[in-house]
Every structure is written in structure tokens, then in C-alpha cells.
Subunit: 366 residues, 2 copies
């Protein structure tokens, strides 16, 4: 059966880095019999420019059909003034919500060759390997009621609702515990139960789930503010972190920056399995659309390439191919290839396309 | 007129570190004619143990009367099981809310003598001086409705409301802009306007306020996740950061940990001025109650001592005295005195009381 991959490059550097991924997909089709068929479409600011919406219904239909969606990045100052419900981010949020991609996996890995690029001292990040499991379709990102309204006294108020229900906490908890079993067998559940009722609830449900189904895994709890601190102080203390949409947004960005490898970090957003055991999935780099360097052939394609490796692993169950691609990315780093964002003295500075060439060469050699 | 200071040592190391502050207040009374009268009372877990509430009405009445409240820290594992509304943190939150202490000032300073204690590379934090202005009486900490409820389908849901109104954003904005004028003249306003309606609202109101009253100050805007990243990447890019209650909680903790000086960082929580130009105020260290070392005479009293320095500056308008006390704290560090939390090879390891002695000696010498 043909594997259908929908490619949504998005804005800024998205199209450039995705170009390299397409070449890599071709390589896997030819050399490893992947059998993938790709199609490009629009999301984000470019979709708004084309048809006034951050993602069209037609594109959503294709996303529903696809085995996997690969996304570049959305947004940029060009769209700062567009209305809230059609801003570039709305496209990404609709994809997450409509495909029910509730589990966002964000590995924070420190690539050995890049340990010195971290702002943290080398010994604190060398070998770092955290998996942040972020809830992605609930919480304050989507809770109702929300809006901005006029008050009788002439003032206005802006409001959002932070909310989680039982099955939402359970299903993201299961993803975290399952992953932990294949890793260090430890989960840290993060909330603000000393302040928020949703935090008390999250904590209670995690404790119950752990007791009922995963008592072989070690479960710790940490307040979100303390987790931010501990990530900076001693990041290697963590194995799997599971947390809500908003805390996950912030903590995964802090963790990503710690590694010094931001331009290298992929992510996977996964839905629940359907009757055929198939889960919807979207893969995207952690970095943004970098409008300042867009269109210049300077962007680092490795995070997007590694996002495709996650697709090989999680959607297509091809872990040998995923390993191969990850190994190729490590090889080019070891060979000294660097895009501007990760450039270090004595290394070979290359652009987007040359980095893609280097990965293809490494794949062929490995 | 006598200056009334209410001392609420709280739990864990609170009583020990506050003991040193009391000796320092005595010194300022004797040597600098401060004229302060202090009284001790309970807040947090110890208040719950004594009368079943995290802060009693009688204590609240004293806090309302006081010119300044000095607080140690609240909480600890001992009270993990107590009901939500009487947990130790509820005492602190009631103090903030009932005294209307809407402006939480959290300096993130890197003390030169401690730059090597940071997990960040020295050059990134040396000389760091950020002021985080956190909104403290609104947002998801207090928004209604909130709670945990049963759903018709047998599930439960936990929910909180994130909400800000015009005057809340304006008054915290004014504090930030006013402070910026006395510092680097730059304010970074932080929200998630790409996701949250309260973020769109916060951004709009900040822009209006800036235009109307503070156009001489430079105003930037940053998304909260990016701010977390930028703090790790290049903390010195910031002057004043203004943000909401929850983002401020997390970002100020990340910033504090960056400095390597967590045991050194004070904070001030200020209310609006009354008809006599007097503002209610509470001062507390950024660190917590550290139950693991409580009662052993090991805790670092400097953050609490420096919180009293902020009281001298902001409540009593005694900036020369505040400068003197801050200088004394720097002197003891330069002389090599270190409690366990900031100990470095070759320094003199001391306990809580000896650190207090050293500060008193430095005050006398300066
Ligand atoms: C672009 C934005 C809506 C998004 C988010 O806040 O989730 C991004 O920051 C992320 O982390 O994927
Ligand atoms: C103790 C807790 C309620 C408090 C908060 O979340 O505000 C603390 O973390 C702080 O930052 O002062």
C-alpha cells in the first residue's frame, strides 16, 4: 500500500527545509522501498494570503486522509495584523484539534557534537535525553468560554478557560508511561496543584492511572515553576516529563534551548489509534519560521529531516530506517558540517541545500 | 512615627532566616534610628497546625495595619494531604489578594562573587540585572469560575479561569514602565497572544498604555515560550519584563535559577497607594521553605535579609539604608562567607547565624 504523506511547508524557512526532506523521501523510496507518495499544500500565513484562511477545508480533508503530515513552520511579522481567527497559528491549532493530535512528543536531546553550543556548562547537558510529553488538544488553548468583552463599567476583560477532563489526562498519561517503559522508566508529572484546581485534578488522575495500570513505572510530581528551575539547574535528572498544553509549550522550549541543539530538534504530534490500529500524526521541527533568514538558503534542515525520521518510527513502524536517518544526521555533524545557527570555530559552514547533500551522502555511505 | 513590621516566618527554614533579619532590624533601630517595631505571627502550615487555617483573620488584621510584612516561606511535605483551601499556600495567596499586592517585583541579579555558581556559562550571566514585574492578584490564580466537578458521563473535570480586565493590566503596566525609567528604559511585555484571548487583550492594553503615558520608554513584546528560551539563551538582552501571574511565576523562577544566586534573591509585592500615599507591601525571598534542611541552622539568610533591604527602599523610602544593607551582603560574599547552597571551593562555609554575624559585622564596618 502506498504511504500518503501530506507536506505543509508553511511560512518563512518552511519551504526551504522541506525541500531537503522531499529529497530524502525520494532517497528512501528508491533505496529502501519506502513507497511514499507526497503532496504539497498550504498552511499558515501563505494559506491566508492564498484564500483568507490559515488552513482550508480542502487541505484539512487531505490531512485527514494522509498517513502522516509533515509541517515546516507557520507565522511571521507579515501577518501580525490579521484577525485572531485567521492568524497563521490558527492553521496549526486547527490541524492539531481536528486530527485530535493530543500527544505532542518533544525530545530534548543534546547532540554530542553540539554540547558546547549550549549556554549551559557542558557537563550539565552532555548526554541529555529528556522526552517531554505535552498534552496538545486541551487546556487553555481550546477551553471555553474564551474571548474579549466589554464590561458595564466601561472596561474590557480578556479571558480563557483552563480545563481538563478525566479521559484527557488518562490518555496523555498512558502515552507518557508507555514511553517511559521503553526508556528510563520514570515519569515526572508537572502541574501547579498548589494554585490551580485543574492542577489538583491532573495530579489526582495521574496518581490513579499510575496505580491502576503503571505501578512498575516510577512516578514523581513537580510544580511547573520548580520544573522550569530544575531544567536549568540539573536537566539530566529527568527522563519523561508529562504536562499540559501551556506548561508543555514553555517547558519544552526551555528544555530545547538548554540542549544548544534547537535547530536540530524534531517533534511528533500523535492522535489515538483507530479501529485499524492507525493513529493520525503530524511531524514538525521545534524551531519556528525564522523570517529573518527565510528565502536565503541558510536555514538548518536537520530538525525537519529528523521530524521525518520520527514519522518513519512512529507512523510507518520502520525503526531501522529511522535509526539510519538519525545516524546520518549525527554523521554530518561529526564530519563538521554546520549551518549558521550551529556554527562553531573550525567547522565547515554550509547552507540548507549543502546540508541536505551531506545527509544524502551519509545515507548512501552508511 | 513608629514603623510597624509584621514578621511572618512561615514554615521550614523561615523561622531561622527570619531570626537573622530580626537582629538586623535591631541594628538599624540602634545605629540608624530606624524606629521599627516588629511582631511575629503565623502563616502557612504552622498556622494550619495552630488554628486550622493557613492564615487567621487576626493575623490578616495585623497585616492590614502593618507598614510592611516580611514573610519567610510556606509549605512542606508535612501538609501535602490537607484540604485545598487551607493548604499552606492559601495563606500566602490570601495575603496577596486581601492586601491587593498586585505588583510583584522580582529582581534577577547575578552577584559577581557567585557568577560561577550558575549553570550557565559565566559570560552569559556576569552582570545580569533583570527586573521581572509579575502581576500578582489576577489571572488564573484567582479567576472564577474554578473547581473540580462531576460530568454526566461519569468523568470529572478540573477547571480554572484566566482573566484580566483593563485596570489590572494598566496598573501593572504603570509599575513596569515607572521602574524602567529608573533603569534601562526598556520593557518587554510577555503573553501568549498567538493562542490566548487574555494574551491578545493584555497586548492591546499594554500598547495603549505605552502610547498614552510612556512613549519615552522602549516597549517590546515577546511570546511567553520564546521568553523562556531567550532567558536561557541570552538573559542580558532584558531590562524590565512585565507579565501575568502564571507566566511570571515560571519565568521569574527560571530567571532566578540562571543567576546561580537563588539563595540570594529577594522580592517585593506592592499594593496601590492609599490617600496618604502609602502602599501596602510584603517582602519575601524567592526561594522556598527547604524542608530538607529546616531546623539545622544551615539555611542562607541573605535572600530574606535582602528582602528587608527592599522594604527599606520601597516602603520606608530609606534608600541610603537599603544601599548600606545590600553593600553589606556583597561584602560578606567578597570576604568569602558561604552557606552550603552557594558553597564554592576555597570559601568559608558558615551556617545561618554566622552569616547573620558576618552581615552585622560588615554593617558596622561600612
Ligand atoms: C505556534 C504556536 C501556536 C505553538 C504553540 O503555542 O503551541 C508553538 O509555540 C509550539 O510550541 O508549537
Ligand atoms: C507558593 C506558591 C503559591 C507561589 C506562587 O505560585 O505564586 C510561589 O511559587 C511564588 O512564586 O511565590
Amino acid at each position: 500500500m502506498t504511504k500518503k504523506i501530506l507536506i505543509l511547508p508553511g511560512d518563512g524557512i518552511g519551504p526551504e527545509v522541506m525541500g531537503e526532506v522531499e529529497r530524502i523521501i525520494d532517497w528512501f523510496n528508491k533505496e529502501r522501498g519506502l513507497g511514499a507518495e507526497t503532496e504539497r499544500d498550504l498552511v499558515g500565513g501563505c494559506a491566508y494570503d492564498a484564500h483568507g484562511q490559515a488552513v482550508s477545508d480542502a487541505t484539512m480533508a487531505k490531512a485527514q486522509e494522509a498517513d502522516a503530515v509533515l509541517l515546516g513552520a507557520v507565522g511571521g511579522p507579515k501577518w501580525d495584523g490579521v484577525p485572531f481567527d485567521v492568524r497563521p497559528e490558527a492553521g496549526l491549532l486547527r490541524l492539531r484539534k481536528d486530527l485530535e493530535l493530543f500527544a505532542n512528543l518533544r525530545p530534548a536531546l543534546c547532540f554530542p557534537a553540539l554540547a558546547d553550543a549550549s549556554s549551559l556548562k557542558r557537563e550539565l547537558v552532555e548526554g541529555l535525553d529528556i522526552m517531554i510529553v505535552r498534552e496538545l488538544t486541551g487546556g487553555v488553548y481550546f477551553g471555553e468560554p474564551r474571548g474579549i468583552e466589554d464590561l458595564p463599567n466601561g472596561e474590557r476583560r480578556g479571558f480563557d478557560t483552563q480545563v481538563y477532563s478525566t479521559h484527557e489526562v488518562q490518555r496523555i498519561g498512558r502515552v507518557a508511561f508507555d514511553l517511559a517503559r521503553k526508556r528510563g522508566n520514570r515519569v515526572t508529572s508537572v502541574e501547579k496543584r498548589n494554585v490551580m484546581h485543574s492542577g489538583v485534578f491532573w495530579h489526582e488522575e495521574m496518581v490513579k492511572l499510575h496505580k491502576a495500570e503503571f505501578s512498575d513505572v516510577t512516578l514523581d510530581h513537580m510544580l511547573a515553576d520548580n520544573c522550569g528551575m530544575q531544567l536549568v539547574k540539573q536537566p539530566k535528572q529527568f527522563d519523561v516529563i508529562v504536562t499540559d498544553n501551556l506548561f508543555g509549550d514553555m517547558l519544552s522550549d526551555v528544555a530545547a534551548m538548554l540542549t544548544g541543539s534547537l535547530g536540530m530538534l524534531p517533534s511528533a504530534s500523535l492522535g489515538g489509534k483507530d479501529a485499524n490500529g492507525k493513529a493520525k500524526a503530524l511531524y514538525e521541527p521545534v524551531h519556528g519560521s525564522a523570517p529573518d533568514i527565510a528565502g536565503q538558503g541558510l536555514a538548518n534542515p536537520l530538525a525537519t529531516i529528523l521530524s521525518f525520521a520520527m514519522a518513519l518510527r512512529y507512523t510507518f513502524d520502520l525503526s531501522a530506517d529511522a535509526d539510519l536517518l538519525e545516524k546520518a544526521a549525527e554523521t554530518v555533524l561529526a564530519e563538521g558540517y554546520r549551518t549558521g545557527d550551529i556554527m562553531q570555530p573550525g567547522m565547515k559552514k554550509v547552507g540548507t541545500k549543502q546540508m541536505g547533500d551531506a545527509v544524502l551522502a551519509a545515507l548512501t555511505k552508511l
